[in-house]
Symmetry: C2
Subunit: 334 residues, 2 copies
């Protein structure tokens, strides 16, 4: 077991719990022999769900957690009060190095707060950013930071650039990932106070491949691999991405059902269209890592499917096997 990558999975978090996390965990175990999984949650519920599946029982353990943190609960209070919740129990296992990583579709706020106060940051890391992968015309880009800590300082953004580069290079496999800072124009003198202060620091940073500013318009085209921004802006980008996509797709669908002619056409284009829209669906990609912590924490969507959770678990595998935490420690200390 010592060679296995140990991932704690929140069996109670998200809209589709316990079904999706349990199935995601079982599927991951059946696909990879390098995994050991802890499912944290209410024992009877999790075991009942598990009984539906066949899986290597010697590599799965249910860890009892009697409480559940709801999405609507204020995160800091919830993490403090519910010591026996699936999130606190799972993150405590990471802090104690009983698990290498933790995957949860539960309350984003609670997972973020728990990441900071339970798992804890790597020494030298000033902030642990939430960095989802977003779909682009060329593949995927890492949007860093979309977390809850807004009003960042320039030094935070520089660390985000470094951590994001390490992640994209080692976990996603992009060689020399292009780093850009979100700005309102391409010229160096443009931007708000934060961007203007950060720009020269990124330019001077030796161990990243900084390509300058990126306007929001060019993000979906995939012009940069690591997109650095302050969390308020990142949150707006992430959510607008989903919002514009969802509205546009729903309007297109409506228009296709507006006449007999277009209904017929819709039947014919459906398979091709489905492939494209699927690629643009952020939720298939395994969730967002919370970087800079002593172990990996992956936040999957509240509506995550078993597939997303399985992919989130595989992110943890890659993260551990590539020693990302050590690489971050080295580079941030530099």
């Amino acid at each position: 077991m010592s060679d296995l990558v140990k991932v704690a999975v929140d069996a109670m978090g998200g809209d589709n719990a316990p079904e999706a996390p349990v199935k995601g965990a079982v599927d991951a175990l059946n696909e990879s022999e390098s995994l050991y999984i802890y499912l944290t949650g209410v024992k009877e519920i999790v075991e009942k769900e598990l009984s539906k599946y066949t899986y290597p029982k010697e590599r799965l353990e249910v860890v009892a957690a009697s409480e559940v943190i709801e999405t609507a609960e204020p995160p800091v209070a919830a993490i403090r009060a519910k010591k026996d919740s699936s999130i606190v129990v799972g993150q405590t296992m990471v802090r104690k190095q009983q698990a290498d990583a933790f995957v949860s579709s539960g309350s984003t706020g609670a997972v973020l707060v728990g990441g900071q106060v339970i798992v804890g940051r790597i020494k030298g890391v000033e902030r642990a950013p939430l960095a989802p992968l977003i779909p682009t015309a060329r593949g995927m880009s890492l949007l860093i930071d979309c977390g809850a800590n807004v009003d960042a300082r320039p030094s935070h953004l520089v660390q985000f650039a470094k951590m994001g580069s390490i992640y994209m290079e080692n976990v996603v496999g992009i060689r020399k990932p292009k780093v850009a800072i979100v700005n309102i124009g391409a010229e160096e003198e443009k931007g708000n106070a934060l961007v203007k202060e950060t720009f020269p620091l990124l330019k001077a940073c030796e161990n990243i491949h900084f390509v300058g500013s990126i306007e929001a318009r060019d993000i979906p085209a995939g012009d940069a691999d690591v997109i650095v921004c302050e969390a308020f802006v990142g949150n707006v980008i992430l959510k607008l991405y989903e919002g514009v996509g969802a509205t546009l797709i729903s309007e297109i669908k409506k228009s296709m059902l507006s006449s007999l002619r277009s209904k017929l056409g819709a039947m014919l284009v459906k398979p091709a269209l489905k492939t494209t829209l699927k690629r643009f669906n952020a939720s298939d990609h395994g969730g967002a890592p919370l970087l800079g912590l002593k172990g990996l924490v992956v936040k999957t969507h509240g509506s995550a499917s078993a597939l997303e959770i399985k992919n989130g678990i595989f992110q943890c595998l890659q993260f551990k096997e590539q020693n990302i935490a050590d690489k971050i420690k080295e580079h941030i200390a530099m």
Copy 2:
């Protein structure tokens, strides 16, 4: 002539000048008898273009401006140096009340700077925001501010909310427009320092219909009519809107051409699809007003068509006939 609404139009600005602005102006004149138009630009070029059309010659005048400000020029320097440019000449006419409004597809930076330093702000207005209308599932929302003055203060955002409400009510015709502030969560305690400080001020503001926070995800659905934000965030929203839309549409088109079956289907859905995508194309809606100035300045897209410019001119007509500047003066002074 004294009853006519006088609009100066930049005949040299934008990718399609002089063709698009000249045609836009001519079309507007032919459609409305309440308009008088000044075309600012290089006399011979504008007159040659005008010679192609039939229009009420007694309501159009070419105003000579020998210089052109290019998009790439630093705005402040350009406005200072090129006193005889189509932008400076047109905006000076507004300042001198020779024209009620100015429409330009030229350099956004120069139009914004000129608006502040040439036309000048209404007394009491702290900042003149650029406020484009963006398409939503329910119609249009006003996104205010998307201009060049970033790092706003709470008092600026409150003024944006007031001016945006007046515009949506009187120019666009939305009764009691819903005002929301862009935020990273719906709860009042969420947000960055600026949003947290602004929220209670908006809540206490009597002459607007404040509905609270809006997450970027809900903007495309049309959940609010006036969307208040600081200019950096506004700029990101505006450009990402265009970017996600463009990328998604191009990917959908590609997917539809991927097989014979889908090609056939594409032919059938094309008319319905075109209507939907057209509605989601921001560029048909006549550009973005720069509010809070002593006259109206409308910035149309750099790639504006004659139709967009015509619609921009009609915005000016509505703006003048509804006495928006006076209404802003009253409300801001309150």
